[in-house]
């Protein structure tokens, strides 16, 4: 049953290995007859694949660390608040989760325009300043509430500032939360399609998702080519996820609080 969920990825890979223009298969085929890497060769010839990959990489290398910083700061700030205020902060955060993305599509444009960020990497990185999603703040908060008050108090007795407590007490113990948020934020930013569609004009700034859309419009029925592009877009998040998979599946809630793998 779990293998069923691997099917999409298998189909994607096997589809990308089909020679272009091959007649439809007779019956179910796992691998196409005479599989070929031809689609992967054609792809960079047809479209500026390397530019797209580079742009996507730039976006995630900026957005992921910012997300981690903003989310962990926010959560640590909430952790320091007295419980009553903390609850209010959590509720507000949850309320933000309910605001539909559609509600901010157009009007966000005006905001970006005001600060001159339209058609730059800015709008793609910007969500990181709001922690990408409030959910990540909650992940950190879960991790930080596992931190006993006594540890913070002991630190204060030593004269540590809140900043030092965050850096030297809280963050080292929340390493797994950081890993989790980084992995999740990576796949979100890597896949960000709508912001790119709305706020990016120049083809030189196209990220991979937008590029794939262009490819789909140009070659709507060249499936081996489209599958090859899909595989290329999928490999990085899958690789990042596989690196961190221990964390997600051994005992997620405990490992976020535990601090050790």
């Amino acid at each position: 049953m779990a293998a069923f969920f691997l099917l999409p990825l298998l189909v994607m890979v096997s589809g990308s290995l089909r020679p272009a223009g091959l007649p439809p298969p007779q019956g179910v085929e796992i691998l196409p007859p005479s599989p070929t890497l031809d689609s992967y060769r054609r792809l960079p010839e047809l479209v500026p694949l390397w530019t797209w990959l580079r742009n996507s990489t730039v976006v995630v290398t900026l957005a992921v660390p910012i997300t981690v910083l903003v989310a962990s700061w926010a959560a640590f700030g909430m952790r320091l608040l007295p419980p009553r205020h903390r609850r209010t902060a959590v509720l507000l955060t949850l309320a933000v989760l309910l605001v539909p993305v559609t509600a901010v599509w157009t009007t966000r444009f005006a905001v970006f325009e005001t600060v001159g960020l339209v058609d730059t990497y800015g709008p793609l990185v910007a969500p990181a300043f709001a922690a990408t999603t409030p959910f990540y703040v909650l992940i950190y908060l879960w991790s930080f509430t596992g931190l006993p008050e006594s540890q913070l108090e002991a630190g204060r007795l030593e004269g540590a500032s809140s900043w030092e407590l965050w850096r030297k007490v809280a963050m080292p113990q929340a390493r797994l939360a950081t890993l989790a948020v980084a992995v999740l934020a990576f796949s979100v930013h890597w896949a960000n399609f709508i912001d790119a569609l709305l706020y990016i004009d120049s083809q030189s700034l196209y990220t991979l998702p937008l590029g794939l859309r262009l490819l789909q419009l140009l070659n709507p029925t060249d499936f081996p080519l489209l599958m090859a592009a899909a595989v290329i877009a999928t490999v990085p998040p899958v690789a990042v996820f596989l690196l961190a998979q221990r964390l997600f599946f051994d005992d997620p809630l405990r490992s976020l609080r535990g601090g050790r793998t």
Binding site: V47, I66, F129
Partner: protein, 426 residues
């Protein structure tokens, strides 16, 4: 207090980091002085415009142009809408005549008429009349300056015709010739004719039969495809698939679209505008050519305009924008673009030149694009026209592939679109 200072420094550093992206990422538009030019097109097409911009900048060193291509028309509209809404429209943009109405009707475009009248480099009568006509939003004043004057034609596989012993398409051929050829070419997984099912494909058939797609081309209030000559044209078009089966059924079309099918030699005729030519030129295992659309029995020859024009935003840098448009539509400018083979130049002198006709490469009968010009007609270009088309196309597709009953579908087509002609707020 220490923690706060640290935190603020870090934030500031981050803001600076992303802020500097604004200037390093956005090529050279950081100062806001560069002329912003938005267009849609695939990478090969965009390359032509890049050459054009380079040539313009060489001739006008004082003006910088930023080129922002988007993939297709829907995306272009989205882009333009957000940019106009944010108060920072592009100075120049390229747009199809079926879509500029929604901008023109809101008065956000600077009409080119005055500039053209004063221009010493170009004149109105340099351009194809059919193209100019579609861009007079109020019927008299020229709103945007047409860049090309393409139209719907028949591409055909010469080898397949000869193998089947069918006479080649020629000017003045009729629907009967067309259908007979399509039938002769349909066998063994091969199809006679491929086309998308949309209002702009149906329209020339309707016109040829003597009907019209709307009640009043200048102030349309409803589609009129449900009766009379218009209905004959629509029926002929739909019958190709549902009755004669000379067009690929839906599952075939979804698996391999008509252009790909034509490229692979599995399609006898393919209806499209000039836009297919660069792709078709990659064919090297059979001969192909181009012909006008067939004519209805007892009808007149008709085809539909596929034309784009340069428009200027009223809020943009009009003077520089015009200089660019003027250059792009000079003999030199249009010649650069003609090289891509993708457009039919709106300048008649360039269209008749070797830059466009290219006797060395297919299609051999490139002059067809010029000869059909007297029969070019246009659909309306009102504010809500693109919305009407979007909805109509969905239903036409269902009709073409026999998903809905013909009578019900046509009734639905008219009923669904009627309120859109007078959509509020438009």
């Amino acid at each position: 207090m220490r923690p706060r200072r640290h935190a603020i420094c870090a934030i500031a550093a981050l803001l600076v980091a992303t802020g500097s992206l604004a200037s390093c990422g956005g090529s050279d538009d950081g100062d806001g002085d560069a002329l912003r030019f938005v267009l849609f097109g695939d990478p090969t097409e965009t390359a032509g415009y890049e050459d054009l911009v380079t040539a313009f900048e060489r001739a006008n060193p004082d003006v910088d142009v930023t080129l922002s291509p988007v993939a297709e028309q829907d995306d272009l509209l989205a882009k333009l809408t957000t940019q106009f809404a944010s108060g920072r429209p592009p100075d120049v943009f390229l747009i199809n005549y079926r879509n500029y109405g929604q901008f023109a009707s809101r008065g956000v475009l600077a009409p080119v008429q005055l500039y053209l009248d004063k221009s010493e480099a170009i004149a109105e009568n340099d351009f194809a009349a059919a193209a100019l006509e579609a861009f007079r939003f109020d019927g008299s004043e020229l709103t945007c300056l047409p860049q090309n004057v393409s139209s719907l034609v028949t591409y055909y596989n010469v080898d397949l015709f000869e193998q089947a012993g069918v006479p080649l398409p020629h000017a003045g051929w009729t629907w009967d010739d067309f259908l007979a050829a399509a039938q002769a070419l349909t066998h063994d997984g091969q199809y006679g004719v491929g086309t998308e099912a949309s209002l702009i494909r149906v329209a020339p058939f309707v016109w040829s039969a003597g009907g019209d797609v709307v009640d009043d081309p200048d102030a349309p209030t409803t589609l009129t495809l449900d009766s009379g000559a218009a209905r004959e044209g629509l029926d002929f078009f739909l019958d190709l698939q549902t009755v004669h089966h000379v067009a690929p059924p839906e599952r075939e079309e979804q698996s391999q679209d008509s252009e790909a099918r034509f490229l692979s030699g599995g399609l006898g005729m393919y209806l499209n505008s000039r836009k297919s030519v660069p792709t078709l030129r990659t064919i090297d295992d059979f001969r192909w050519d181009v012909a006008p659309l067939p004519v209805a029995p007892g009808g007149e020859s008709a085809t539909i305009l596929h034309g784009d024009a340069y428009c200027m935003a009223a809020a943009g840098q009009q003077a520089d924008a015009w200089r660019f448009i003027e250059f792009a539509n000079s003999r030199q400018g249009q010649t650069i673009l003609a090289r891509s083979g993708r457009t039919v130049p709106s300048r008649m002198d360039v269209a008749r030149s070797a830059a466009f006709l290219r006797p060395d490469v297919a299609p051999a009968s490139a002059e067809v694009f010029i000869e059909v010009q007297p029969s070019i007609r246009a659909v309306p270009h009102t504010a809500t026209w693109s919305r009407v088309e979007k909805e109509a196309d969905q239903i036409l597709e269902a009709l073409f592939y026999g998903r809905v009953d013909r009578e019900e579908g046509i009734d639905l087509l008219v009923r669904t679109t009627a309120p859109l002609f007078a959509e509020p707020g438009q």
